[in-house]
């Protein structure tokens, strides 16, 4: 696979390490979270057959975390963003 890094251009996927669904960005607020919220965050997944937002780490590169939107049935990648930008956006 080829991942189009927003800063570095097309890179072979073997430079990256995969973590999982991008919902891991949505860590519960410790002030208000219930045990159910923590359980859902850490353990439950949508696991869709289709577009999937997921986290890749550019370990063999600039060490940025990316949010990649990739179809799990075709492996087609439609969007790549810096995870930090996505996380900042969500704070707004």
């Amino acid at each position: 696979m080829i991942i189009h890094h927003p800063l570095l251009g097309p890179r072979d996927a073997s430079e990256f390490v995969y973590l999982g669904a991008a919902t891991l960005l949505d860590r519960p607020d410790p002030q208000t979270a219930t045990p159910d919220d923590w359980h859902a965050y850490a353990y439950l997944r949508d696991n869709p057959a289709g577009p999937h937002r997921e986290l890749w780490f550019h370990e063999g590169g600039d060490r940025s975390w990316l949010v990649v939107t990739r179809d799990t049935t075709t492996h087609e990648i439609t969007d790549v963003a810096l995870a930090r930008d996505v996380a900042l956006e969500r704070r707004k």
Partner: protein, 416 residues
């Protein structure tokens, strides 16, 4: 019809006219006591044990394609019970015991071959961990044997004892482990279940659950609605997709695991070898092909195919540990979709919906579990209580903190 050598001779002499279909092709009935979704190894085994052990008379297996087309026909055929943790080891040992009597139970030769499996040891820490595991196996009634380097070398002289990057320091052997002809498992269970009246309905895709007041009353399918008192799901690989119809999010990700077979070769590899410092394991089939595999590709996928980096990684491991396979040719590669669970262990449990039961999350260890998975799922479906070797496989273990994490890598499915 009973299979036997005598029967083969008789049929051979009379033009093979007497062989009937291995299973019927029934039309679905309007209602069954129990519907099992998924005509793979686990679903068919569940149906077999429901009919044979739990005396269920009204059972159907629904399969969206053709039976045995999923992971039971795509794995690397290894059976073993070399697990560490209390939640797992009794279950897998139960499974191994079922394998040992399976062919006589099914009247089908699935070529259960207890050729032995050796996990190679490459460091002191690994030896400590395997010692703990081997002891756990023995304490659970399984067999285990710790081998030193010389013992491994005696059995497999062509492993790399010369210039290995990670020298072989020994191995943990389970002599009762081995291989089974995988397709025959699906067919054997199907035939046995069918002979006891189970309806195996192929080309019947479940498209939804009918749920009324928190109770599941049947399934919508590509061949219409089929009512059921209980519905059991055993569709590993597709669990996420299926359970989404019941609005359930699972502690599971779907990942692709590739497997490989070489061209046919004269016997050279008596048992199963697992390389403890790379991603490579291998056995040789009765037809002569080296059947091997390694790590999952590592990203969510439903595509049943993988990519080159893992092919290379697996073959690099093979060449590192067994450099005499360099001139054997890789004939075929394929991918299967694994339910990678959040702790690497499966789930066999009721759901929060009455009448809806779940079996999945087998990661890449589902094949060896096939008989026990079927048996214990049948037990749960028939009695509404978990079978005693499967009590730990609960949905709520992640909520309560009772994870069964053999590898100790936590809630990251692609590391299990």
């Amino acid at each position: 019809m009973r299979y036997s050598g005598f029967r083969i001779i008789k049929e051979a002499l009379t033009g093979h006219r007497g062989w009937g279909p291995a299973w019927r092709e029934p039309e679905p009935k309007a209602h069954y006591d129990i519907i099992v979704i998924g005509g793979g190894g686990h679903g068919l085994a569940t149906a077999h044990y429901l009919a044979s052990v739990y005396q269920q008379k009204s059972v159907a297996v629904l399969e969206k394609g053709w039976i045995g087309g999923g992971n039971v026909g795509r794995n690397t055929t290894i059976i073993r019970s070399n697990y560490l943790l209390d939640g797992n080891e009794p279950f897998y040992e139960f499974s191994l015991k079922l394998w040992e009597g399976l062919e006589q139970d099914l009247n089908y030769n699935a070529m259960v071959s207890q050729r032995g499996i050796i996990n190679l040891i490459h460091s002191d820490a690994q030896r400590d961990a395997f010692t703990r595991r081997g002891n756990a196996m023995i304490l659970n009634g399984a067999d285990a044997e710790l081998l030193d380097e010389a013992a491994v070398r005696r059995e497999y002289p062509y492993l790399n004892f010369r210039d290995a990057r990670f020298p072989i320091k020994g191995g943990l052997a389970q002599r009762r482990g081995g291989t089974v002809r995988h397709d025959a498992v699906a067919w054997g269970f199907a035939r046995a279940a069918d002979s006891r009246g189970v309806d195996i309905i192929q080309n019947c895709e479940v498209t939804g659950f009918r749920i009324q007041d928190g109770t599941c009353t049947g399934v919508e399918t590509s061949r219409g609605f089929i009512g059921a008192t209980k519905v059991g799901c055993a569709v590993a690989g597709s669990s996420g997709r299926l359970m989404a119809h019941a609005d359930m999010r699972l502690p599971i990700e779907s990942h692709v695991l590739q497997a490989f077979v070489s061209e046919g070769l004269k016997p050279i590899l008596p048992g199963v070898i697992t390389f403890g410092a790379g991603h490579f394991y291998v056995s040789q089939s009765d037809k002569g092909g080296l059947v091997f595999g390694g790590d999952i590709d590592g990203y969510n996928s439903y595509a049943q195919r993988g990519n080159l980096p893992v092919v290379e990684d697996v073959c690099e491991g093979g060449m590192a540990i067994m450099p005499m396979i360099g001139r054997a040719r890789l004939l075929r590669m394929w991918g299967g979709i694994m339910d990678m669970s959040m702790d690497g262990s499966p789930i066999i449990d009721r759901t929060h919906i009455d009448g809806l039961y779940f079996n999945g999350g087998w990661c890449y260890g589902g094949f060896k579990a096939t008989p026990a998975s079927g048996y214990t799922f049948a037990h749960l479906l028939a009695t509404d209580t978990p079978h005693h070797v499967a009590t730990a496989y609960r949905f709520d273990r992640f909520r309560t903190g009772h994870m069964i994490d053999e590898k100790g890598v936590g809630n990251q499915p692609n590391l299990h």
